[in-house]
């Protein structure tokens, strides 16, 4: 009797660049990896709202205020599509959110850094969204269909956010001496954490090889990081700002920028929960959840009553 090896068939299928859809057979570790990755991504969108929302009430012009509020609202929307994409894999949104609130699930460490000045809103848009886009553009071609499609939509909005962020930086750099100092200070603080967003070096990255083989990931952490640096350095030059890396240098031979060593010790500390704002971010999410409990209960109770009344009505 001929036996069919599902795993091999699956591997051939993704290698022929076909998309995996919710009802298809998939190896359990593929499903688990995706649930973990997509939910972490969703949590990052939702936690990522906090450092920026921090500045909505203080935005220095009405145009900037409206743009920032709209941007943070887009992130909530991204969180929603991503939770929905995770649900297509059989995960439950309430459980995923529970894991975030209990501290079991991870989210992008970048959001554990504080936003200290208005220029941070520019720097986040330019650098953090820029780094996120490098990763997300790749994910538009990921092997899981619903994730890939969510990414196409998210990338469009993220590119818009990145332009907005860069435009904030541009206005500051064309402005007064204090504004330019604000911009440089923000770049100094966000540059290295942005490079860390791509994750550990390829040598250290434990999950990467399997994800590449399943075509979930299409480029390595180091490749994506290099692309980001190559793209961003000329943008900093255009602003007249200095990247805080003395070893940064253009390499004719490779056609890439060489850069100094990344402080991975800091990275692992923030990941473990020792970043400047880890505690505040989780507390803020927990507070919103706890304060909202009575509201969600009331909405459910009302929906149930309405349903019952409809039932009585149609029975009568």
């Amino acid at each position: 009797m001929e036996t069919i090896n599902f795993e091999e068939r699956f591997q051939e299928y993704v290698h022929s660049e076909q998309k995996v859809e919710p009802k298809h057979w998939m190896p359990e570790p593929y499903r688990k990896t995706l649930i973990r990755q997509i939910s972490q991504h969703a949590h990052s969108e939702v936690v990522g709202m906090l450092p920026e929302a921090n500045w909505i009430s203080r935005a220095p012009s009405l145009r900037r205020k409206v743009a920032l509020l709209a941007k943070v609202q887009d992130e909530a929307g991204h969180g929603l599509y991503l939770y929905s994409a995770a649900e297509t894999l059989g995960a439950d949104r309430a459980d995923l959110v529970g894991d975030l609130l209990s501290g079991k699930a991870k989210y992008s460490s970048i959001f554990n850094y504080p936003t200290r000045s208005w220029a941070d809103i520019g720097a986040i848009g330019w650098l953090v969204d820029g780094a996120a886009i490098a990763n997300q553009v790749m994910l538009c071609r990921t092997s899981y269909g619903p994730y890939a499609r969510a990414m196409v939509r998210i990338c469009k909005e993220e590119s818009f956010h990145q332009r907005q962020g860069y435009e904030i930086m541009l206005a500051l750099c064309k402005g007064t001496k204090e504004q330019k100092e604000m911009a440089q200070d923000a770049l100094n603080r966000w540059w290295w954490p942005s490079l860390m967003m791509f994750g550990p070096t390829d040598k250290e990255s434990t999950n990467s090889a399997q994800s590449m083989n399943w075509k979930i990931k299409r480029k390595s952490n180091d490749e994506l990081r290099q692309e980001f640096i190559d793209k961003t350095v000329p943008q900093a030059e255009f602003l007249g700002l200095t990247i805080p890396d003395e070893q940064l240098e253009w390499d004719e031979k490779t056609g890439h920028y060489r850069f100094g060593p990344i402080d991975w010790e800091e990275f692992y500390h923030v990941l473990k929960g020792n970043g400047p704002c880890n505690k505040e971010r989780l507390e803020a999410r927990n507070k919103a959840h706890d304060d909202g409990r009575w509201v969600r209960e009331a909405a459910n109770a009302f929906a149930k009553k309405t349903q019952e009344r409809k039932g009585e009505h149609s029975a009568a």
């Binding site: 509020l69 919103a288 009331a298 909405a299």
Partner: protein
């Protein structure tokens, strides 16, 4: 005395600005992601309306005034918004009840302004009315849901209704400038708006199993620039960057 049209435009503008500023405090902190998005959307509508109205006020004022200079460089006593709009956001029930009482009023006010003899106010009302209709519907639905939800939600929203009620009297006050504008067909009759508002509020409160509080002593002062203690903090937060760097462009 300030030109009545300018004074009235600023009254409308400041109500939208302060409402938008308060509502945007919920962004990132809502009870569920879907409602976080809905409320941010509503805050965005108010801020968008505030910008159109402030631009119109700046045009009337001339002499280099802009929407931002009006928002960021006026002192508290020159803000004319209703006191209710500046009260702290409270819990979700308080925010929803305040939104309902104000949105219902705002809806009838803007509906009347669709007939204004002032072309610019009419145009702004035309642009805003769809948004405001949605706000009034959204907040009425939430009042009903919380009023007729659980015992806890009923008690909470009832308390908010009682606390907010004394701030509703100010909605319908008319000063000399406003009655003059009404006579010229520019501003609506607030007596008429009061009748419409009363009917709608009673209808929705009944559906929410809530009792309409009696009209007792009403708070007043916003239009004249006599604000609550909360207003100073709101403005300090909103205005501090432009005021710290008065020569900067952002």
């Amino acid at each position: 005395m300030e030109n009545p049209l300018l004074s009235y435009t600023l009254f409308l503008a400041d109500n939208s600005l302060i409402t938008g500023q308060r509502l945007s405090e919920w962004c990132g902190h809502g009870p569920i992601l879907e409602q976080d998005i809905a409320l941010s959307n509503i805050a965005l509508d108010h801020l968008g309306q505030a910008r159109m109205l402030l631009q119109y006020a700046a045009e009337q004022k001339g002499e280099g005034w802009t929407e931002d200079r009006l928002a960021y460089f006026r002192d508290e006593k020159n803000f004319r918004n209703l006191l209710m709009t500046e009260l702290p956001k409270g819990d979700w029930g308080y925010t929803v009840m305040r939104a309902f009482l104000y949105d219902t009023y705002h809806f009838y006010e803007m509906t009347s302004l669709l007939q204004s003899k002032d072309k610019q106010l009419r145009a702004i009302a035309q642009k805003a009315i769809k948004e405001i209709r949605y706000h009034a519907q959204w907040s009425a639905e939430w009042v009903i849901r919380l009023g007729d939800g659980t015992e806890e939600s009923h008690q909470r929203i009832k308390r908010s209704l009682v606390e907010l009620w004394p701030f509703t009297g100010e909605f319908f006050e008319t000063d000399e400038a406003a009655s003059g504008l009404n006579a010229n067909g520019i501003a609506p009759s607030y007596t008429h708006i009061r009748t419409q508002w009363n009917a709608k509020v009673e209808e929705v409160l009944a559906l929410a199993t809530l009792e309409r509080p009696a009209d007792g002593w009403m708070q007043s002062g916003g239009r004249k620039g006599a604000h609550t203690e909360h207003m100073g903090y709101l403005l300090a937060e909103m205005q501090h960057i432009p005021r710290s760097y008065p020569d900067a462009q952002w």
